[in-house]
Amino acid sequence: MIPFTYERAADANSAAKAAAQPGAKFIAGGTNLLDLMKLEIERPAHLIDITRLPLRQIEAKDGGVRIGAQVPNSDLAAHPLIRDRYPVLSKALLAGASGQLRNKASTGGNLLQRTRCYYFYDTSKACNKREPASGCAALQGFNRIHAILGASDSCIAVHPSDMAVALTALEASIETMLPDGSKRTLPIGELHRLPGDTPHIETTLHPGELITAVVLPPPPPGNQTYRKVRDRASYAFALISVAAIVRVEAGRIRDSRIALGGVAHKPWRALDAERALRGKPASMESFANAARAALRSAKSYGGNDFKIPLAHRVLTRTLAEVAGIEGAA
């Protein structure tokens, strides 16, 4: 761990200003950052503690919900507004990490957690994300947990968040404050980037830009669910996860929102699948077609070959279940 200085932010604007300095970084729950600092993967010279900022409210707003960036994951999962109206989010949160981690982890921090790629975590290995232009040890390495969509020859890492997958399906937006005191709002789909040849740049946030809230629009009509497939029953990252909201009317799919986790460098909105479903009968065939559409550009790297058929199966089944269709089996 590299020595660093520390300050507790007095307000959001001064936090953003302080964080705009080179080498500065926010710290909230620290559930990911501290581990990475110990391993010297993150090497901030200065930490700005934002845990005392007044960003812990969950409030109903314009038919939706505004979630302060410092709301802990466990509080958010348990909140009646979330449980009643956004069950996909509550389920996704509870599928992530452990009770202890969810108590510490913040809403904003969850969005910004970094990949669990083994080679990113091992400073003796080549990793373009950790050290630009050093190479990618995962491409020819043990890549069982790696991306099948949107990856590049520079990086095949996946984003580990469950919460962000649900927020993607819910079309949440992110409120931020910039160092100059101005505010902006961006759709969650524009927060994270695909790796391209700059996998070390993971978000579109500007230096010092502070996430202050996540805003959920009114829930879209339809049933919601979150399905996570993993190697053990709890406390494991997703091999594949699906956040799905499906509205069926008179046996046909009126509308759907589908996002996938464990497949890409960012929470993956499966727009092709949504388009394929629109107006189609709510049948296994339609859902399998949608899954095919979602995975049309999928590519695997040896260790993760199984993820493509797995994603197909779990996406098809999850859509069928959320649409209330009994499976063929």
């Binding site: 590299i2 091992d122 190697d231 406390y235 797995l310």
Partner: protein, 763 residues
Amino acid sequence: MATRSPLSPAINPIEENRQGIIGKPLDRVDGPLKVTGRAKYSYEYRGVKDTTYGFIVGSTIGKGRISAIDTSRAESAPRVLAVVTYQNAPKQAPLHPREPGPSRFDRSEPFLFSPEVRYFGEPVALIVAETFEAARHAAGLVSVRYVKDPQAKFDLMTHQSQAYKPKGVNAGMKADTSEGDFDGAFASAAVKIDVTYHLPHEHSMPMEPHATQAVWEGDHLTLYSGQQVAAWAQSSVAKTLQLPLENVRILTPYVGGGFGSKVPIHAQAVLAALGAKVVRRPVKIAQTRPQMFANTNHRPECLQRMRLGATKDGTLTAIAHDVWSQTTPFDEFIEQTAAFSRVMYAAPNRFHRHWGVMLDLPTSDIMRAPGEEPGSVAQECGMDELAVALDMDPIELRIKNEPTDDPETHLPFSSRSLVECYREGAQRFGWSKRPKRPGTLRDGRWLVGYGVASAMFPTYLRPSAAAVRLNADGAAIVKTDMTDIGTGSYTVLTQVAAESLGLPTDKVTVELGDTRLPKSAGSGGSFGAASAGSAILLACEQLRSQIAQLVSKDRRSPLAGANVGEVALRGGNVVAGEKSESLQAVLSRLAPSGIEGKGEHQGAEKQPKYSSHVFGAQFAEVGVDIDTGEIRVRRMLGVFGSGRILNPKTARSQLIGGMIMGIGAGLTEESVVDPRDGSFVNRDLAEYHVPVHADVTQIEAICLEEKEPYANPLGIKGLGEVGIVGVAAALANAVYNATGVRVREFPITLDKVLGGLPDTIAT
């Protein structure tokens, strides 16, 4: 003077159990200390004011040598006291010879002794600093250049053809044994299977990391170090540092789990001693979780070919078990994996053979039930495959091949209740509800299957000594360097002493984990309770005999003139027939400064007359998600024939703990090696998947009533390891029963069954 073997006290109070303390579910006597944080583990000692902190720098190549090492930046970093490398480390004994001597754990283990790098993560430098943070920071400032060895080998499958034949295997067993004509019998067998199972590297990963604090006083060294066997640690450290044995003291009163990995000493123990010598202050070091993957022992990856031949009615005629397992060029550990099949089933024609494959990886070593656990996979999955080939119930197949004596040694079994375990377990588990054909039982989206497998672990007894002191107030203090690694040693040894001395348990205090106490076998090989407990029994017998002589000769005692052999300690009294006097009165009159008994035994006989093991039957029900292949354990039941139970609560904890670890072996645990550089890839507990609470639903362990007359005077069988044996096989067999997919590559993760699942989706 100590009471030595033979191991038969004049009166065996454990056998009589007049107070009923043996078999009582006494709560852990150390429980309150543990839940209130007062039980101190190695890293937590703060008694020494000027303690400093060590941090290990590991190599970042798998094999080669250090060509240059620059420690200047680290040395000049704030609060750094020393940087130790092979260039300036204090003198140590040379590395132990490659082939193990009488004990793998009693030998020199130097570190930082050479520029050669033997495995990825081997210590190349030690930072000692005023604070942990300063030490860790400076570790990142050491710059090392290496020359890699292009001939390095890291992959078992690739190098299997270069396997060699070892002289022997772990636990003093023979590498190869055989009987009859396997080839002929197998060739002519009516029904046969020939299958190969592949098991991964696994790590013990106890919750307490491997940690040591070293304190020098002159040329005397004290190590606070989590160890399973204090005496071996003492001797290994003394040999490494070339000190007289008596100059080294090991303190290990509480240990947060071991599973074999704290039987040897590891890098942090030696490095703490070296660092403390250099800076002339105490040093403490805890390995980080990632460091533990390279610098503690792992169970080696292995390939097992299993051939079974049988007649049409299921009588085994031929068994062959061939094992190839990873070892290293600098240290030989060959897991005794083919030893399991030597003991389990009758068959006149058989062989059981081991090979080693030298890879440039960290040395492999014992992990919970070494040999038996991996060996049970090939044998017990093999039996399931044979049962399918025979169209026979897998329990009936096993019962049909129950041997009348030990198939290897032809000694009679001292006790063996395997058939009873299967019968009782089948009834309790509802085995009759098992689907006869795979893939036919559904519960919602789950394909459900049942599996069984046998468990076995040898009953060892090793030399041990103990002292028991009775104070005039009637309180007893038991002393032995035995350890409690979470197993319940403090508790069961309290019970043994209390029953032997006729005292309530709250009058007995047990002191463990200090090499200044009488030397015991320690914790390992499931021999701890039997070995230390027998020594305590003998020490108590000696106390009884001393007291009997005192009262017999004392005219003031109502027991005056009593036959010494008939005097017993019971209910806080000294009794002989109808006569009785309180122990406290006797002691305060005849031994006012207290009295001490010593017990020592030499362990098992060199030429045993019986073959002694604990046997059990493991039952598992799994669900396999029909779409995703996710495998979840629905129920598990283990039934064991385990002799006398000292404490059903700690016994059950040991057994279900083993069974849970078996879920890991079957379904989740794998230390993946990157064949490009020999590093373990998934080096933390987020990615090395041990079972978590949610993976363990209904689990139960039952001990049948069983009399074990020969293994040790307590009539017990060690339970620390048998619980894990057979679980992986039972789960694999259940997965087959659920899906019809036979997976021979462990752990059985969803990707390995996915391709064999029904096409429920319109793909």
